[in-house]
Symmetry: C2
Subunit: 500 residues, 2 copies
């Protein structure tokens, strides 16, 4: 057997890293779904130990040497292997950019801020969190400076790059500007159009068992592999696990069966992505590091473009009747659709509808940039938040829980994360336009519960590329257009001002 | 802050190891309880990666250096810390005794033999497994030789030491001889006494939900911490997890609610042990490495001495009625007890009763020693097994599945494991005698479902010592007698020839 090449040794190292990260992912899934309430301390130690191991793999001098040697011999590699080396390099660069002391201080500050976030919510008072959040902001600012220097980027762009590789804030702002220009009118128009047509409420309570059975039938129709995956319940929907063992969760609201179903659809979009990556890439960075914007795009495509469409509602209505045993005027196609497309100026992001959702992201993006640049002090954040909501929605939150304390992201140090939601919306809409062009009978298929055409298109055009392209690169190749907000604006205009 | 001492650095390393092993334990629990059927390949990779990390911690030159330095400065340590250093040294010695190439070959041979064990059972033919088992036996023989040389022990004793620290085969054989001397008569006597008094069968089918509720009520009464532990169902009962997050499983037989309950009791014995170790030892070897014989002893004490007693049956009968909704002549105290104490010469270990169980261990011990010494060839194992059963029970198994293929232990390389079951029985009985002397009203308490006296006694006399003593050392200290079979023989004689 000839000695392994540097590239082969790298694959081996990243295979090991993949296995360790898979273990980490299972620990997180278990913590949210199965773990006894009192065991968080023990789990925290296990997760920290595994994260340290993972970091050590990426930061090891041996890995850096192997990367140098592999890059010097790139001509011997196949195209996907070259992409793989780039993805490896990216992980290594992000890992070693921060000094270990800063990693440790940030981890400690985040643990403190996270627990104070819960406490502040309990007391309904942002001031409980403010000093700890201030510490997090300062350390994230350091982190951004280190990352930016190392990756030769603007500091904020370096944070964004960690979540959405290949997308910079300038591109995101172009998108934001285009949406801002049209959105106020679209929201006004939709609310006006829906005035006087309040949907009838769904009456009754629906057990998790029945709701789960409905979700399972829908997910099976979409090709979710239950022999290599699970659906469970947790506080908020999420996807964990690895290709080959995907763990999807959703949250069942006893009064609203669509909330759990659409959560499950959202996560199924990501799960199918995970399962659809070429088998030989599955444990390599080129198969995994696609970034949150792309993942969000595929999730939203199932939840929004598919799940909140007349064709989908026509298909699931009999399934809803069967599993939940409901019937009557609230359960017609029209009334269900009216519920799913209801536009309201909610002050809480996770309750927001598709059309007003971008407003929540705009507010957060603006505030987090101000915080990081130092233009806004943490002590003034709650008031700045309330003013921003007043300016956009004409109302101030009743208290901090409905305001600045509604999201945990900043407390846990996730700055540069919020843009991925909005990038995801634009990606979903732009892919959807191409998908509809390529699959002319799509609505009729969905109406019959047939998703093989849709999933095949995604497999071929998106899943199969893994992380070999950035999100904008993939969009350019698949849709032959740069990533913009145009498709999303066309999509919501049609959906909210014409169809309904 | 002064620099950490070598001992403190060791504690830190073992704390990390404890966290990694806790993660491993959760992966195993999940594989048996939650994992989708198709995901075993992925899980295997994750477990292998973590086991490699754990081995690397123990085998690192730095750890050996720290151990040397800590031992050179033992006078500065507290008693439990000195015990901790010994337990650390033991783990390190076991870890580095085998050359890495042998570890890898054994892991591969075991993986192969394990899958062929399933295939051989499917085909009902030991010959399917024999060549792979032969390879495992050869490698285990190498392993024993390496371990023995390194630990300065007889090779088989070194294997036994891995499972039952501080117990050698000579001690085990003394126990075995004493039991062999009396057991045939005891079995004959018990079967004769029970002749013509066949218990009435339990009729009905009992859902896992109802059986689980019964188990939970019983476990709560015994102090199982459900805020830091779970009870789930799996193919065979087991305990995984760590102190602070204990995962107990049992198996619910729809036709026999006592099988699941006694399985849960058995595992609760170990879970309470895990939870009862002093808090500051929990993530250290002195708190964890008590060996399987002691663990089995505490499990059997709850399952056998407590769970199959008239007092316990008197307490749970109304709970059984409540949770399972049963009543009638099969559900009297007497009939339940008759079922729980029924003695029969079963050819299958896991179906065996308390009294005939040792026979199964004797047969396996004898055969595994012959295999390892080379006196018995693997190709002749099935026939040797059948002859041994004929000699002990007067019957040959109908096929290999009921014979040599019934246990997976040897296929997965677990030689030296079977003795721990019998050691556990003797430990349980010997502790039980002392416990009854120290707690005079024990039967009355159990009859009322009060276990605090019993659990406190175990806490103080056993749990609190962790692994600071070996099993024989602990028995000597707690019962003021060496570990022998005498207490067990007295116990079964009274139970099967006098009480019933």
């Amino acid at each position: 057997m000839p000695a392994a090449t540097p590239y082969q040794q790298l694959e081996q190292e990243f295979r090991r890293l993949h296995a360790l990260r898979g273990a980490l992912s299972l620990l997180r899934w278990d913590a949210a779904v199965m773990m006894p309430r009192g065991s968080a301390d023990v789990r925290g130690e296990q997760i920290a130990a595994l994260e340290t191991e993972c970091h050590a793999v990426l930061a090891s001098p041996r890995l850096s040497r192997l990367l140098e040697r592999a890059r010097a011999n790139e001509q011997g590699l196949e195209g996907w292997q070259r992409s793989n080396v780039r993805a490896m390099q990216r992980q290594r660069d992000h890992a070693i950019a921060m000094p270990p002391s800063l990693i440790a201080r940030l981890a400690k500050a985040v643990a403190r801020a996270e627990s104070l976030w819960f406490e502040a919510r309990r007391q309904g008072d942002f001031r409980v969190l403010a000093p700890a959040l201030d510490e997090v902001v300062k350390l994230v600012r350091d982190r951004a400076a280190h990352l930016g220097r190392h990756l030769q980027m603007d500091p904020y762009d370096a944070l964004l790059d960690a979540f959405a590789p290949g997308i910079q804030s300038a591109e995101f702002e172009t998108l934001l500007t285009a949406i801002s220009w049209r959105l106020p009118q679209l929201i006004d128009g939709a609310i006006e159009r829906q005035a006087g047509r309040a949907p009838q409420p769904f009456e009754g309570r629906f057990t998790a068992t029945r709701q789960r059975a409905l979700c399972v039938e829908v997910m099976k129709a979409m090709g979710f592999p239950f022999d290599r995956g699970r659906l469970d319940e947790s506080e908020r929907p999420f996807t964990e696990g690895v290709p080959g063992d995907i763990r999807v969760t959703t949250h069942f609201d006893p009064a609203d069966p669509f909330s759990g179903l659409l959560g499950a659809l959202h996560e199924t979009g990501q799960a199918l992505y995970d399962q659809g990556v070429p088998a030989q890439w599955r444990d390599q960075p080129v198969g995994r590091d696609r970034g949150l914007a792309l993942e969000e795009g595929l999730s939203l495509l199932l939840e929004m473009q598919v799940g909140r469409s007349p064709a989908f509602v026509a298909w699931i209505r009999p399934l809803v009747e069967k599993h939940l045993g409901v019937t009557g005027p609230a359960w017609t196609d029209d009334n269900i659709l009216l519920r799913l497309l209801r536009v309201r100026r909610s002050l809480v992001r996770v309750d927001a509808d598709e059309l007003t959702y971008p407003v929540h992201i705009m507010v957060r993006y603006d505030l987090e940039r101000q915080l990081l640049s130092g233009r806004l002090r943490v002590v003034d954040l709650a008031e700045a938040w309330n003013e921003a909501m007043q300016a956009r929605f004409g109302r101030r939150p009743d208290d901090d829980v409905q305001g600045v304390l509604q999201d945990m992201h900043w407390a846990v140090g996730s700055f540069g994360y919020f843009p991925t939601y909005l990038l995801g919306s634009s990606i979903a809409a732009q892919l959807w336009e191409s998908l509809r062009e390529d699959c002319p009978g799509l609505d009729e298929s969905i109406r019959r519960g047939e998703f093989s055409g849709l999933v095949s298109w995604l497999r071929e055009n998106v899943h199969a590329r893994g992380a070999s392209l950035t999100a904008p690169g993939l969009l350019q190749e698949v849709t032959r257009k740069p990533l913009t907000a145009a498709a999303w604006l066309r999509y919501v205009e049609r959906k909210y001002l014409e169809t309904l």
